[in-house]
């Protein structure tokens, strides 16, 4: 647990906010795919913390970013916080994305605000000299697109899709992934995905049918955030349940059942 001062908290695309925290412990140790568990209020309602993926860190400045969409009470309270206010956070929590084996092509698939942890991933991967990758990113509409240029600056070639066709291809980023994989026979690749459940389901299918590994960042309602309450269950492929907060949020696609 840390008390982290807010440095920046602004709308970066329609309904999407970037929040930058002064949190050197997080900046030092966070891995892409890990999350922060954020207390939005001091009063007894809403009761629970909110989990958000870490979207970036700056070790030198000791800062960490999250990018969130305003969807309910917690995120709307968050969006009203101003620089200088202090946020109570837990983290970095959970297990993040594994690095790709040398020589494999990282394929990133992100939907909406699910792009957030993939930004951090891309930045980390770009530290490997000469790394190239592909990013397939989907948004509802042009006005909700954010930060796609970051992927480009990290050495990823970016393809876009929007639900309404206002930008990039009309459709889903999984279709872009499929098209790409159809073209490349026997590519040594690994998929990293985050987004709505349907997206993850589709990525799992595609990866399985192409015989390449896929790492998915899952979401589940959370209580403790650290494996104590057993609230954030997801069905394990081997029977029983994994906990998103402790065993994930990133899982190898074959480990879990997505329904």
């Amino acid at each position: 647990m840390h008390q982290a001062e807010i440095i920046f908290n602004e709308e970066v695309a329609r309904g999407i906010y970037l929040l930058r925290l002064c949190a050197d412990k997080v900046a030092e140790s966070a891995n892409p795919g890990q999350f922060l568990h954020v207390k939005c209020t001091k009063v007894p309602h809403p009761l629970l913390r909110r989990p958000f993926s870490i979207a970036d860190t700056h070790r030198e400045e000791g800062t960490a970013d999250i990018i969130y969409r305003v969807v309910g009470e917690g995120t709307s309270i968050l969006s009203q916080k101003r620089p200088g206010e202090v946020l109570d956070i837990m983290g970095p929590l959970g297990r993040g994305f594994p690095s790709p084996p040398p020589g494999t092509l990282p394929l990133i698939v992100g939907g909406g605000v699910g792009v957030a942890p993939l930004l951090f991933l891309a930045k980390e991967l770009s530290k490997v000299a000469g790394l190239e990758g592909r990013a397939f990113l989907g948004f509802s509409t042009g006005r909700e697109i954010f930060d796609t240029e970051v992927f480009e600056s990290c050495g990823f070639s970016v393809e876009l899709a929007t639900d309404d066709g206002t930008c990039g291809k009309r459709g889903f980023p999984t279709e872009l992934l499929e098209d790409f994989l159809k073209g490349e026979k026997k590519v040594q690749a690994v998929v990293y995905a985050c987004g709505p459940r349907m997206l993850l389901l589709k990525v799992k299918e595609i990866a399985a049918s192409c015989g390449i590994p896929a790492y998915l960042s899952l979401e589940e309602r959370m209580g403790c955030g650290i494996g104590a309450c057993l609230g954030c269950a997801v069905k394990s492929a081997k029977g029983g349940y994994k906990k998103v907060c402790r065993d994930g949020p990133v899982f190898e696609a074959g480990e879990v059942e997505i329904w």
């Binding site: 629970l48 913390r49 589940e220 057993l230 269950a233 069905k235």
Partner: protein, 308 residues
Amino acid sequence: MVDLSVKIAGISMKNPVMVASGTFGFGREYSRMYDMNELGAVVTKGITLLPKEGNPPPRLFETPAGLLNSVGLENPGVEGFIRDEWPYLKTLQVPIIVNIAGETVEEYRRIAQRLSPLEGISALEVNISCPNVEKGGMAFGRHPDSAYEVVRAVKEQSPFPVIAKLSPNVSDIREIALAVEEAGADAVSLINTVLGMAVDVEKKRPVFKRVFAGLSGPAVKPIALRMVYEVYEAIRIPVIGMGGIFSWRDAVEFILAGASAVAVGSAIFSDPVAPLKIIRGLEDYAARNLQTRISDLVGLAHRNAAEF
């Protein structure tokens, strides 16, 4: 200096603030965050005879100032507990209370038996109030006779003090409290979660697969407090109060209403160090009110009610 220590059901605690079963796992999860030995006692997640995989997701749903859970007693079973959790727990300097649950009286008896060699357990908390399982659980806690039977069975087997954890989903909780007192319980703890539910208006169906789930958190505090007050007047064994404790003020309310100790549950999710803050708050409160022993505050609201 305020003396925060309490002794209930033979358990000596350095302060009256415990963590509630199921909200603190087996302690280890929180051990990196702070020194658990500062707590009054640690109560483990509920243990069943055989391992239990628990309920399918979603298991949690937030409600106004509250939380519905349908975890369904996921746990490694008593053997798994002894093998994987006890070795760590026994190294702690804090009283450990093991929460147990069963589908039949016989199961409760066997768990108690299996735990009885574990030196260092401070007490068993007998969960006859879990609303999230198909069989047993709350079913026992809703009738005085079955509550009696379960507690009796555990008490016969257990070398440790026995705490009966009561369900709030009853017409008259005093009846149940009296029954478990008669069965030999050394203390009662209350409340477990209140039976509730939520509906998903988009999917037009219950949020939880098992439809009903257990409500906890600040929302239920007024109910829990009332039950503690009622039970305190009905029985002579000590009462451990819980249900929605969020700040030291809430803890004081429970103590004044008759709780000899309190447990913090859901509030831990909001703030893992809430129990520690509450301990400090209690200490300050007692000092401000010129009490040298926290135990002198227990049940004071009953005596003062007459003065109205």
